[in-house]
């Protein structure tokens, strides 16, 4: 795709978020984290189709671009399931060569918890899928389940589940959807290549890493502004070395997470080389550290709902645990390295 389209997409998204996704609007969407009008404006720009192939009305936006978009939506705390709708759903329907359903589409990596019974074209599913982003608002849930003949993409409709509501620390809906012996039509279950569930898990981790970077960028910007405006002992906070040193630490962790996420996006197509794991570890780590520093330099002001810092930091505290914490991904890397052996450690690092 051309640089021109890339710039166009990012600029139009950035403008929309700046003009419309105000802290007041984000605040108003607390307790669920979804603003349907704002999301409609995103869809009016066709941004939710950007990652689709041209045959489906997309521009085949690559992962580097879509993760940049996710950094922007995260920085603005967009009240919508951005990663699911902008990246994961388009990726799944492209994989399965089906059309993107109309309406709000969410995605869960937990479809393996469903039991899928029956023969081709006559499937019945039961069970529950928990922690579904925007579950209560979604028209469709896409997830990967195991059927008798391997992995399949399920395209499930709102009238097929019951919702039990739950929230993450940022007030975003993370609902449990219950399926009670639901019969699916033939087009609701599509066979996809084995390993797709794993690939979805990795892509979700990459998406969350990008969102963490975006939210941390926002916490950083707010911190820089605050320490330059706020004076204590007769000078701006920014002039205190103790403050400068803290913000330099934040910058270091943020840039490491940003570069690693960028590398993981660039290399995703070429297979599992550890970049996604490294990105999620680094981003999760930066999130905890960065949120702590951002709050510390804001003093008590940032610790209230009156000041928008919490829109960024509560997302940091939520997203770092979604799609696997630092421990989850570190364990995977550790497993891989122990199996490869000491002599292959350095080649792994430089591959």
């Amino acid at each position: 795709m051309s640089d021109e389209i890339r710039t166009l997409l990012l600029d139009s998204l950035e403008r929309l978020l700046r003009d419309q996704c105000t802290p007041e609007r984000v605040e108003a969407a607390e307790q669920g984290g979804y603003d349907p009008e704002l999301w409609q404006q995103i869809c009016d720009l066709e941004l939710h189709r950007a990652a689709l192939p041209e045959s489906q009305g997309g521009v085949e936006a690559d992962l580097s671009l879509v993760t940049e978009m996710l950094k922007l939506t995260a920085a603005s705390a967009l009240p919508a399931p951005a990663a699911e709708a902008l990246l994961l759903a388009p990726w799944l329907v492209t994989l399965a060569a089906v059309d993107l359903p109309e309406g709000l589409v969410t995605v869960s990596p937990a479809g393996k918890a469903l039991s899928v019974m029956g023969e081709d074209g006559q499937l019945v599913i039961s069970g529950e899928v928990s922690r579904v982003p925007a579950g209560r608002y979604a028209d469709w849930l896409l997830t990967v389940a195991n059927s008798g003949d391997g992995e399949c993409l399920l395209l499930l409709r709102q009238d097929q589940w019951q919702v039990t509501e739950a929230l993450n620390l940022a007030g975003e809906a993370r609902d449990t959807l219950l399926f009670n012996e639901v019969s699916l039509s033939a087009e609701q279950a599509v066979n996809i290549p084995g390993g797709s569930a794993e690939k979805l898990w990795q892509l979700g981790a990459l998406a969350r890493s990008a969102q963490l970077v975006g939210a941390l960028r926002r916490a950083q910007t707010l911190s820089h502004t605050y320490v330059q405006e706020r004076s204590q002992f007769g000078r701006p906070l920014a002039k205190f070395q103790a403050i400068q040193q803290q913000l330099a630490l934040l910058a270091a962790d943020l840039e490491a997470a940003s570069v690693m996420t960028g590398l993981a996006a660039m290399g995703f197509a070429t297979g599992d080389n550890g970049d996604v794991a490294a990105a999620k570890v680094q981003a999760g780590q930066a999130a905890g550290m960065g949120a702590r520093i951002a709050h510390q330099v804001h003093g008590a002001m940032g610790f209230t709902q009156e000041y928008p810092l919490h829109h960024a930091t509560r997302r940091l505290w939520s997203w770092r645990d979604e799609y696997g914490s630092e421990t989850h991904w570190a364990h995977r890397v550790g497993e891989q390295l122990v199996n490869l052996g000491a002599d292959e450690f350095w080649p792994w690092l430089t591959a």
């Binding site: 840039e255 690693m260 490294a278 000491a342 690092l349």
Partner: protein
């Protein structure tokens, strides 16, 4: 705010070179020509090893062929450097010359200086030390007091330099002197010279590391007379010349790989018996290492494009050098071990080398606190 680092990877063409370096290193190890160690770019002085690298064409790699170099890219040099460091190879003899004295000579030296020094440095026959810091000037480099006074046809030098790596074994150093009395502009009036360490009037006194190794020196100059040919660059431009080297010095793989051999030795010791906690810890360190290397390569690529990512380089050094220490701190909590200097057990030995060198990681090349000040300025906070 001007901090941003575009993610970059090394070009595929460098990978051919990487295979050559690995082949060379495995032959060196098979012939027991070196023992892998931690922080060997500081402490691993081996003239013959450096000479063999020169024979391979891996010294002065980026310098023009006219000066004995090999005209290769900075990213090719990056590959060679990281392979040598990861293997714990003894690269200290040529390290300073290859990383900064050579490039300084190339940039600021006269034609005669370039032709005189660079070919011998690239072949592994002439080595350099640094002559910047002084007993009275640690982080505040502009406060140097070593004096260069004009004499007929040259300069007379008086003063003391400290932390001069391997000055007792190498041939020359680049000396930062005050050539005019200090004024309000503290960065004015500084001048660099290329000086023969065996010149009359020079006394070299050892400063031993915590491990007992003799690596650092104090170099005392008592009425050392040098000719005008020794002047490097412009009189009075010493500060600009010194600071231009810093991005190269701060973001290279030596800023996160100094203790890497200990991590490999840990994996060796644990093998498949590693429990879950150990696997998580190893994986976490490996993930951090991957991110650090990604950052460092991205800075190297920016440098290669002609950018000046000084702030980003400072970030790499701050993160990377803290990581070097964290790595061994974590390892000691993962295994039963009592580090012993020179121990037969590889992991114990490597940990001992690391701990006794560790305080230096976050000091050398600009303390991390100074670097965070550089970062804060880059972020627009000062």
């Amino acid at each position: 705010m001007s901090v941003s680092l575009a993610p970059a990877v090394l070009p595929a063409s460098s990978e051919v070179l990487r295979a050559e370096v690995r082949q060379f290193l495995s032959e060196e190890l098979a012939a027991k020509r070196f023992v892998p160690g931690c922080d060997k770019w500081l402490g691993g002085f081996d003239l013959e090893f450096s000479k063999r690298l020169g024979d391979q064409g891996w010294l002065g790699m980026t310098w023009p062929e006219a000066y004995g170099g090999h005209g290769r890219s900075a990213l090719d040099r990056y590959v060679v450097t990281e392979e040598l460091l990861a293997a714990g190879a003894p690269v200290a003899a040529h390290w300073v010359g290859d990383r900064q004295s050579g490039p300084s000579l190339l940039r600021y030296g006269t034609e005669a200086q370039k032709l005189d020094y660079l070919p011998r440095m690239a072949s592994g026959d002439h080595f350099f030390a640094i002559g910047m810091s002084e007993p009275g000037s640690g982080s505040d480099l502009a406060s140097v007091r070593t004096r260069a006074d004009r004499i007929d046809g040259g300069w007379r030098i008086n003063g003391r330099k400290i932390w001069c790596s391997s000055a007792h074994r190498v041939d020359s150093f680049i000396l930062l002197c005050r050539s005019e009395p200090p004024t309000e502009d503290r960065h004015a009036g500084l001048t660099q010279f290329v000086v023969d360490l065996r010149a009359p009037g020079i006394t070299i006194r050892p400063i031993h590391l915590l491990s007992g190794e003799h690596h650092f020196n104090e170099v005392i100059m008592d009425n050392v007379e040098i000719s005008d040919d020794c002047l490097l660059g412009e009189v009075g431009s010493g500060w600009a010349q010194v600071t231009s080297e810093l991005a190269y010095e701060r973001s290279g793989p030596e800023r996160f790989l100094s203790t890497f051999p200990a991590l490999v030795a840990l994996l060796q010791r644990l093998g498949k018996a590693a429990d879950r906690g150990q696997r998580v810890a190893i994986g976490r360190l490996a993930a951090q290492l991957r991110a650090l290397r990604g950052m460092s390569v991205s800075v190297a690529s920016a440098l290669d494009r002609g950018d000046a990512p000084n702030v980003e380089a400072a970030l790499v050094k701050d993160l990377g050098t803290r990581f070097e220490g964290d790595l061994v701190e974590q390892i000691r909590l993962l295994v039963e071990t009592e580090p012993e200097y020179g121990a037969e057990d590889e992991l114990n030995r490597l940990l001992a080398e690391s701990f006794l060198h560790m305080p230096g990681f976050t000091l050398r090349g600009g303390t991390n606190e100074i670097l965070r000040g550089v970062v804060a300025r880059g972020l627009g906070l000062r």
